[in-house]
Symmetry: C2
Subunit: 298 residues, 2 copies
């Protein structure tokens, strides 16, 4: 059996799998504002709990929302207070004994999850584009996860897609500014500001509380602003994916994260947009798919 | 000793190296309009000639201007007539005996050349951006060349960098349309068309015969159109490189091809442009360098 641990910014999910990848049991715990060592303890407690039951886990995999430094076993996670360089591997090894432990960032884990039990089974070259609050990509090359020289590969929210540079991209990157979950809300607010004649459903929500959910709901009702926002996002998603295709010549692009989800309906449109931009042979050699595991990939 | 063969669109360069990478002898032959099997014969003749001298080559490396299919040993090269699916490996094996033979595309060979004898020595994660008539990239990941599922990885001339899509990108891709050697000439012609007040040196050249060389010469003389063209190109080069940095988190970006060359003077400006767009930690972990081998990398 295998222990899977998925740490998010606000909660910790644990699961026990058979070695074939069948989910045997799982649970979710809220972090409740915990930080630093308290989060490390929460993780080791869950491992001990599973070990104490009559299971015999043989390996542990941990997904973290940040950077996992493979050489040092330390992790950096911007949403967990005190995790600038937290020695998570050492902490887990205190309870795991001789079991192999693997820690990776969430986008890499999503890609590995899709490879193991989702829509990338049998793939050697694939890209998992995760669009949620932020944007990242898990990139599989010849069966291995791309890490980069310092474990920060796949930071594709920073893709430059619209010249010239604007100061507003500094905090998130150009692609994430427009086409993440938060970006959908941002873009909507930007458009609403300049649309004095508009009288649709989005007008009734105070600008600061608009979320991507509102925009998806408005789209369902043919709201013209929502249509315009997703038309923009489809262009950005299509350009980003076209760039992956021209650079990597992959077999598959898999769309995941909270936004895909409801944006899954746009995958055909994204494919049509990507086809305009991408290397013309590579685009014929790649398939576009939704996540096979949805929120459970990591 | 090792035989190195670099096939271009119009000429064939051969070289003999020591196993440490020291150049022992070399030569260049014009293709003179040869196509199909004639080019294959030209290559095997050169190999036989080297074998016939008192050298004992132990391996052969061949760089081709197109796609090298690793599984079949066939090659596709758009500028060599009849090389849609040419069995180059089989042809070479007829004369090479038991010697190992490796055939790869020119951008991959440039990257490998820089790794062996140039500015990527000791690197495991690096990108060679080749800007000549066209644009391509040789991408090194954990010490291995990125090939993709069907050997077309690195086709970065197709990068989508400026929304929305325009029909004129169809033939070359957006990045190559603007920022290749031919792109520099194209952009200059486009700007000249709309500049009735301009009276500089580029005005004296008929629009159709403007080349990148003319634009570099004009830049030397502070020509305002040339300055504008390179200002645009620096933005595109900077955005493309920023995208490599956010995606790959590499140690090095190496600029090569005919344009770098004279555009080497812009590398600092390209770095400043990339710094605006790229993942902010990754940009501090990468160095920007010119090719250490110039025209001889492949």
């Amino acid at each position: 059996m295998i222990i899977g641990i998925d740490l998010g910014g606000t909660k910790l999910a644990t699961a026990l799998f058979s070695e074939e990848g069948k989910l045997l049991s799982n649970g979710v715990i809220s972090l409740d504002g915990r930080g630093g060592e308290q989060v490390g303890q929460l993780i080791t407690e869950q491992i001990k709990k599973i070990q104490g039951s009559d299971t015999q886990p043989r390996a542990i995999g941990v997904s973290i929302p940040g950077i996992s430094h493979q050489k040092t076993g330390t992790v950096w996670a911007p949403n967990i207070p005190g995790w600038e360089s937290y020695p998570l591997l050492d902490e887990i090894k205190k309870v795991s004994g001789t079991m192999p432990v693997s820690i990776d960032n969430d986008r890499a884990c999503c890609m590995l999850g899709e490879m193991w039990r989702g829509n990338a089974r049998g793939c050697k070259d694939a890209i998992y584009l995760s669009v949620g609050t932020g944007i990242g990509a898990g990139i599989l090359i010849d069966g291995k996860i791309l890490r980069g020289a310092h474990d920060i590969a796949g930071a594709v929210g920073w893709l430059a897609l619209d010249k010239p540079f604007q100061q507003k991209y500094i905090q998130f990157g150009c692609f994430e500014y427009y086409a993440s979950g938060d970006g959908i809300a941002r873009l909507t607010r930007d458009i609403l500001k300049n649309e004095s004649g508009y009288n649709g459903v989005l007008k009734n929500i105070s600008a600061n509380s608009i979320t991507a959910h509102h925009v998806f709901d408005a789209f369902e009702n043919n709201d013209p602003i929502a249509i315009r926002v997703f038309d923009e996002c489809i262009q950005y998603w299509g350009m980003a994916v076209a760039n992956f295709i021209s650079i990597f010549n992959p077999e598959k692009i898999i769309f995941g994260g909270g936004v895909f989800g409801p944006a899954t309906r746009f995958i055909k449109d994204i494919q049509a947009e990507a086809a305009k931009w991408a290397q013309p042979i590579s685009i014929t050699q790649v398939s576009f798919e939704e996540s096979g595991l949805h929120g459970d990939a990591a």
